[in-house]
Amino acid sequence: MRISRNVRYLAVAVLVVLAIASGSDAPASAQAKTITLSMLAGYKEDVLRANLPEFEKKTGIKVVVDAAPFGDLYKKQLLSLSTGGRYDVLFMDEPWIPPLSEFLLPLNERMKTLDTADFIPTTVASGAFQGTQYAVPVDPNVQLLVYRKDLFEQKGLKPPTTWDELLADAKALHDPAKQQYGIAITASSDIQTALYMLLAMWSYGAELVDGGKGSLNSAAGKKGGEVFLELLKYTPPNVKSYNFADVNKAIQLGQAAMAIQWASGAKPMEDKQRSSVAGKLGYAQVPKAVRQTPMRGVWTVGIAKNSANQDAAWQFATWLSGREFGQAAVTFPSATSAIHSPRFSVLKDPATKAALPYADALLVSLQITKERPRLREYADIQENLRVTAGKLTAGELTLEAALKEIDAGTNRILGK
C-alpha cells in the first residue's frame, strides 16, 4: 500500500529528527576552560568573533558566544542571572550595572592589576555602583554634534558651541523647499527622543533625579524643554516617527546639516556605500548652556557571581578591555561594526585617527561626559521618561504637564 509506506517514511523521519535533537542535548561546556559570554548581537558581535581566535590561541580558553539583539539583551541577562543561569561573562550597557549588580562579581581587588591610568576615568566609573566596581569598560559611547563642514563653509558659519548658536545655525541652514533641513533629531516615542530632551534640560542645569526625588520640573528643565521643542521647527517634517537610524539616514543622505547623535552611529556616516556625505562631516561636542553635558553610554564587561570560571572570565575581560583588542576593534575594516576603545593610548593613536574622523571629538567628549542617574530603578525611570517625551512631542501633553508627569513617575518608581 502506497500510503502505509508513506506512514513508515514519516515514522522514520520522526525518529531521525528526534535522534538528531537528542544528540545535540549534550552540554557543550564539559571542559574546564570554556566560558560562556552573553553578547550584544550584530555590529559588535562581528568584531568580537573576528578577534576571538587570537584570545583563544593565546590563553587556551574557549569562549562560547550567546548573542542577543539589543532590545532583548538586558531581559535575557536579567532572567538568566536571577534564575541561576549559565553565563560567565556579560557584555552590558552601563545603565544595567546597578540593577544587575546583585548578581555580579565585585572586581575591586582585580582592578588593581589593571593599568587603569590608561582608561578615560569616566568610562571606568560606568562599571561601578555605590563604590564597588562590577564591570570593566570596553566600548565607550557618547553623544556628539555632527555637522556638514561644506554647508557651514558655504554660509560662513562656525559650528555651534551653545544651544542658542545651534538654534540660529539650524534656522540659517533650514531650507525645506530644497529638502535641506537644519538638524536631525527624533521627536517620536523612541528612546532617543527622551535622551535628546534630557540632554537639553541637563545643559540648562536640570536633573532627572536629585536628592532621591524627581526634579526635572524646574525653571532649568522648562528652559531646556523649550529649546528642545524650538529645535523641532528646523527638522525634517516627519521626525515624529524618527528613530536612531532615521537620524543617521538624514545625515547620510545629505538631508540634514546637523545632528546630535551617539558616536556609535558615526562610522556608517563615513562609509561611501552608505553615505553620500562621507568626508564632508565635522564632529564636535554637543552644545552647552550653563554647562556642557554630553550623555555617556559605555558598554562594559562583567563577571557573574555564580560563575565557576571566574579567573578565565577575568582573563577574558582584561583582554576585551585591553589595548590590543581596542586597537584591532577601532581599525576593524567594516563600515557597520563599531567598537571604540576606552583607552587614551588607543584613541590617541595615529592609526585610530586615520580610521575614525571623529576620534578627537570622542576623546574630548568622553572626558567631560555626564552619566545618567546610577540607580537600580533607572531603567524604569528612563522608560517613564520615554513614554512622557513621546506624549509631549505627539502633542498629547504640554511641556508643563509633561515635566510634572515625569517627576510624578520618577517619584512613584522610587517609592517617594
Binding site: 516615542s189 515624529k240 516617527s241 539616514k249 537600580r376 502633542g395 498629547e396
Partner: protein, 289 residues
C-alpha cells in the same frame, strides 16, 4: 458515530501533550500575577492579591491600550478576512494559469516578521521612502504614514494585512478545495446563479473554516507585537500603544507580577471574544461534529 473506547487513543496523545506543556505554565503565570515580584529584587517577593489587576482599573494608559488593541484587531481581521475570502474564491476557479501564482501569493508568510516590518518602515519612510516618492510625484502625497496618530494605526493594519492575507487565503482556499464538486454541478444544472450557489452552498459548508480563520487571526492580531514594535514602537505618543507593548515593557523591566497580570487579562479578553463569536456563528447551525 457513537463514542467508543477507541476515541480515547486518538485524543489522548495530543491532549495530554498540549495540556502538560501549556496549562502548567499558564497556571504558574496566574499564580505569579498575584505577587509583587521584580526580578532585580529577588529577595523581596510579596503576595499582593489582586493589586496587579486593580491597578488597571484606574490606569488610563491601560484603558487606552485596550481600545487601540481592539480597534487594530477588528480592523485588521475584517480586512484580512474579506480579502482572503475573495482571493480564495478567485483561485478556486478552474484556470490553469492560477496554479503557479498561488505560491507567489503566499510569499509574505515566509518573510521573517521583523524583516518584513523593517522593510515596510523603509517603504513608509516619510522623506526617503519609495511610497511617498510616487505619491508626491502623482500629487497625492506625501503622507505622514507613521507620524500621524490616526494614519499610524492604519499603516500598521496595512502591514499586518500584507503579511496575513495569505494565511486567510490559504485556509479558506483549502476549505473550498474539499467541498464536493457534485453539489455545485447539481446547482448549476438547476440554474442557480453564482451568487446563489455561493450563498447557499459555499457559505454554509465553509462556515466552520471561515470561523476558524477569523478566530485564529483574531487572537493573533490581538497579541500582535513585532510589526507594531518595529514600525511605531507604540507611537506617535500613545496612538499605537497596544496591550502587548505594555506587556513587553513590564516584562522587559522585570516586573513579573504586572507582566503576568497583563497576560492573564489579555487571555481572558481573547477567550471571551472567541467564545462570543463562536456562539454567534455556530448557533444557527449545529457545530460540525
Amino acid at each position: 458515530m457513537a463514542a467508543g473506547r477507541a476515541g480515547r487513543w486518538f485524543l489522548l496523545p495530543g491532549l495530554v501533550f498540549l495540556f502538560a506543556i501549556d496549562l502548567v505554565p499558564l497556571a504558574y503565570s496566574c499564580w505569579v500575577s498575584f505577587y509583587n515580584w521584580w526580578l532585580i529584587r529577588p529577595r523581596d517577593i510579596r503576595f499582593v492579591g489582586l493589586a496587579n489587576y486593580t491597578r488597571f482599573a484606574d490606569d488610563p494608559e491601560f484603558t487606552r491600550a485596550v481600545v487601540v488593541t481592539t480597534l487594530f484587531t477588528v480592523g485588521a481581521v475584517l480586512v484580512e478576512f474579506l480579502a482572503g475570502l475573495a482571493l480564495a474564491l478567485l483561485f478556486a476557479q478552474p484556470f490553469k494559469f492560477l496554479r503557479p501564482i498561488r505560491v507567489l501569493l503566499l510569499l509574505p508568510l515566509f518573510v521573517v516578521p521583523v524583516v518584513g516590518a523593517t522593510m515596510w518602515r523603509v517603504i513608509f519612510h516619510p522623506e526617503l521612502g519609495v511610497l511617498n516618492y510616487y505619491l508626491a510625484a502623482t500629487g497625492l502625497g506625501p503622507l505622514p504614514w507613521l507620524s500621524d496618530p490616526r494614519l499610524a494605526l492604519v499603516s500598521i493594519t496595512l502591514v499586518d494585512a500584507w503579511r496575513t492575507i495569505p494565511f486567510m487565503f490559504l485556509v479558506m482556499y483549502a476549505g473550498l478545495e474539499v467541498l464536493p464538486a457534485e453539489l455545485f454541478e447539481a446547482a448549476a444544472v438547476d440554474g442557480a446563479s453564482a451568487w446563489q450557489s455561493f450563498r447557499h452552498i459555499t457559505v454554509p459548508l465553509l462556515t466552520y473554516i471561515m470561523l476558524l480563520a477569523v478566530l485564529i487571526r483574531g487572537m493573533d492580531a490581538f497579541r500582535e507585537f513585532d510589526i507594531i514594535f518595529v514600525l511605531t514602537g507604540g507611537g506617535p505618543g500613545t496612538a499605537t500603544q497596544t496591550i502587548q507593548i505594555l506587556n513587553y515593557r513590564a516584562f522587559g523591566l522585570g516586573h513579573m507580577g504586572e507582566a503576568n497580570a497583563i497576560g492573564i487579562v489579555t487571555l481572558i479578553i481573547v477567550a471571551v471574544m472567541c467564545y462570543v463569536l463562536m456562539r454567534a456563528v455556530l448557533r444557527p447551525q449545529a457545530a460540525p461534529s
